[in-house]
Structures are given as C-alpha cells and as structure tokens.
Symmetry: C2
Subunit: 271 residues, 2 copies
Amino acid sequence: MTLFDEPPRSETASEQDDHRVRVKLIVAYDGSGFHGFAANHGVTTVAGTLEQALETVTQSRVSLTAAGRTDRGVHAWGQVVSVDLPADVNLSEMQHAVNRICRGSIVVRDASVADHEFDARFSASSRVYRYTIVNRPAPDPLVASTAWWVEQPLDVRSMQLACDPLIGEHDFSTFCRRPKSAAGDEHSLVRRVIDAQWTVSESERTALLRFQIEAKAFCQQMVRSIVGTMVDVGSGRKRAGEVAAILRAGNRSLAGHIAPPHGLCLWEVHY
Amino acid sequence: MTLFDEPPRSETASEQDDHRVRVKLIVAYDGSGFHGFAANHGVTTVAGTLEQALETVTQSRVSLTAAGRTDRGVHAWGQVVSVDLPADVNLSEMQHAVNRICRGSIVVRDASVADHEFDARFSASSRVYRYTIVNRPAPDPLVASTAWWVEQPLDVRSMQLACDPLIGEHDFSTFCRRPKSAAGDEHSLVRRVIDAQWTVSESERTALLRFQIEAKAFCQQMVRSIVGTMVDVGSGRKRAGEVAAILRAGNRSLAGHIAPPHGLCLWEVHY
C-alpha cells in the first residue's frame, strides 16, 4: 500500500456475490471534523463514518473503496466511492438515511448502481483537485474553513506561468511525500498532469484565487506542495522560470512550504 | 434597552476625554463559535472577545458600541464598532495585533479615526443584512456554516413578489420578537424597509439564493422571521399575495418559522 491514489486492490471486490450490487456514490464532505479519510481505529474518519452509516442503514457489513484518500483536513465535493450493498437496497432511501445519520458533515450527493467491474479507485481516468486561496490584507472569517489566507499580494500571472512546466508526465519527487515502506523499496512518483491553472473569482466580498489541477493520479501532498511553491512564485520569493528546474531536481527541500490542508478540495473524478 | 438596533446611548460616549480618540472599526466574524454579540459574563461573545483583545493591545479599559447586536450564530462581514482608544494608538499595529489575538474568528477589516460625535449605532443611516439559502436535494457541507439548507425546491419569483409589501414604513410586529420588558410597556416595532430582494447566485457547485434587506433599523429576529415566511411562499405553503395581510395582522403566529441564524450575515452599515 504505497501510492496515494493507487494502492493494491482491496478485498472488497472479492466479497462481491449475487446478493449484492455494486453502487457508486458521489460524496461531499467538510474535512475539518475528520482525522483524514481512511478508516482508522479510535479516531473519526470520513471512510469510517460513512461505512458505519451504510452498515446501520443496510444492516450489513460494508467496506468501501474511494477514488482518492484525502489527507486530514482536506475537503471533497466530488469524492467517488464504490461499495457493495445488499441487492434489494433502495438507493434513494439509503442516500437520505445516510445523509440524516451524517448530519451534513458528509453528504452522499448521488447514488447509482454501477457495473460489477466498477472500482472507484482503479476505474478512474483522472482526478481533479482545487485549492482556494483568499488573498487580502486581513483574513475573511466566512471562508476561513475552506480557503488558505495569504496576506502578501500574489501575482497570479506569474503563478499561471509556473503551471506550464508541470503539465505532462514527470517525476514529481520534488512535490511528494515519499511513502513509508521497507527500506530499499523503490516507488515511482511519476505522474501525468493533464491540466493545471489558476483563476481569480471575484466575489463582492473577497477575491479568491483558485488552483485547479487534473492528473490521472496524484502522490501524497503533491497538490499542497505545488501550491506552496506557486505562492512563493506569486509573492516573489521564487521566479516562475525556476519551477522547471525545481521539478527536475527531485529534491523536496527546493519546493515551497506545503500549503495547509483546509484550502484543498477533491473536486471531481472522471471515469 | 428595548430595541434591537437602537438601545439607549451607552456610557461609552461620556468616557470620552482628551487623551482618547474615537475609532471606527469594520469587523467581520464567523458567529458559529460565539454566544451572540453582546458581552455576557461566563460565555464567549463577539463583543467580549473583541473588547478583551482591544484591552490587551491598548493596555486600557475599552467599551465598544456596535451598529447591530447580532443574535447567537449570526455572522457579520461589515459590522461597525465605535470605540474610544488611547490617543497615541497606532491603528494599523492595533488592527494587526487584535487580528492575531482573535486568530481569524473575528477580523478587524478596517480601523480609522472618527469624529468625536461618531457613534456606530446612532450615526447609522441604514443596515444591510443578507440571508443565504442553499436550495438543493442534498446539503452542501462546504457552505453548511453560512447557508441554510432548504431541501424542497423554492420558486424565487414568488419570493421576490413577496418582498414588495415589506418595502416602506410598517409595524413589523408579525416578524419581530417583542422585547422583554416591564409589563405594560409599549414598544414600537415600526421600521422602515428601504429595499428587499432575492438574487440567485449560481456557482459551479451550488445555486445560492440570497436575500438582501436594507432598513434604517431592524427589530430582533426580523430578518430571520421574514426569511422563514418567504420560504413558505417559495415552497407553496403560503401565497406571495398573502404577505401583505400577514404583515398587517401584527400576529406572530401567522409568520413562518424563524430561519436558522447561521444563514444570516450583517453585510454592511451605511452612515
């Protein structure tokens, strides 16, 4: 279990039998109240809470597979989960019951029957993450839980320029936390970035800078580490032209600080 | 102390002396973490927290006056506060220090010297409140702390029609909590509404319905009670044409349920 978005296939698939149906859920959550995504004994996690709600509602053992295991504090709007449920489940009633149990902290936005082959993690063709920055002299308490407040003025044009070298297939060692594993193991941190861009969304209240990045898969802390580096570029601590060399160097100490988790959101997953 | 936005003048004004300067603060806060606005022993309030931070920073006793005493759970983007501070205060440093102490839950957006006559409450010519509704089949966890989730589809056109009878000077007894006071007291709940309207702001994620209402002053729970009634209109439980009669009746039981506080925000105050 080494790569962030692509660990070995879980046992869920083999539990599939004729009395169960594979279900695809689209799930949103506010990551603030959870100790990360993956079920973990003794702490409240997104997967643990959702599995428990699904078990209560379906009165059966449930084990889910997700498109992306978001880190502690990271939000999701379009997390995708595959799960086998009893074949006689009424999806609409299940959805409402799960949402009632989770009381708004996790929301099943959509539930549909999927092919037996469907696997939220392995069937995904790409993931889209968004990172939001509120860039103003004083913080905005009304977006404090979903946007990173950066005080110093950021030059979005340079940050946009700094996106270019990231597009395509590269070794992202510079921007990734190397997975914990037995000494000597080699793990590829090569990933293919399909698109990366900054947009400014002006609300009446606050200008929000939004970074959107799409890749087949991501390694751990990759988006937050890229955003931290981009903010160094936007504030003039690094030049946009340096990013290509920083990426090639494969040296984590050259990247910027890792941006905090609460600005990050798993936006959607494509299949 | 009877009216929501206009209680008798506090003693702050009389404390004014030559060694103090009157300061106008524009203040934003997330109301979720506070037991309302007004300082209250033993519980964490917006005014109590802000006064304490100002006292720590200026090393002097501080007593503030605010444009609107928001209820528990209500947010503010443009609350205005007047306060007398030592004449040698450096406003920019004070602002930064207070924001550091309040750690993002309360943010002083602007601090400026005001006339000795300036009183955040009595000098105000009007207040603008906003109420946000997220209207979709499932809740949106990423706006759960600042928008009221209404599940049943709302007809915004009827809700807009229902605004018309509110404009102008009326007795708002139907929509207001009658202030606690000695028996037999008569309190006017006549208020002048300058503007009231609904807009739909389509984000990529969620359609937000926004109610904006401006009045010289409001009585307690007025906006939330009006919003509750409007939602009854939007969902078909009441007709837009009934609102004029409901307003005239002066009978609270005819109004809709009071909308929850977390959708409400004191948006700005005009002087």
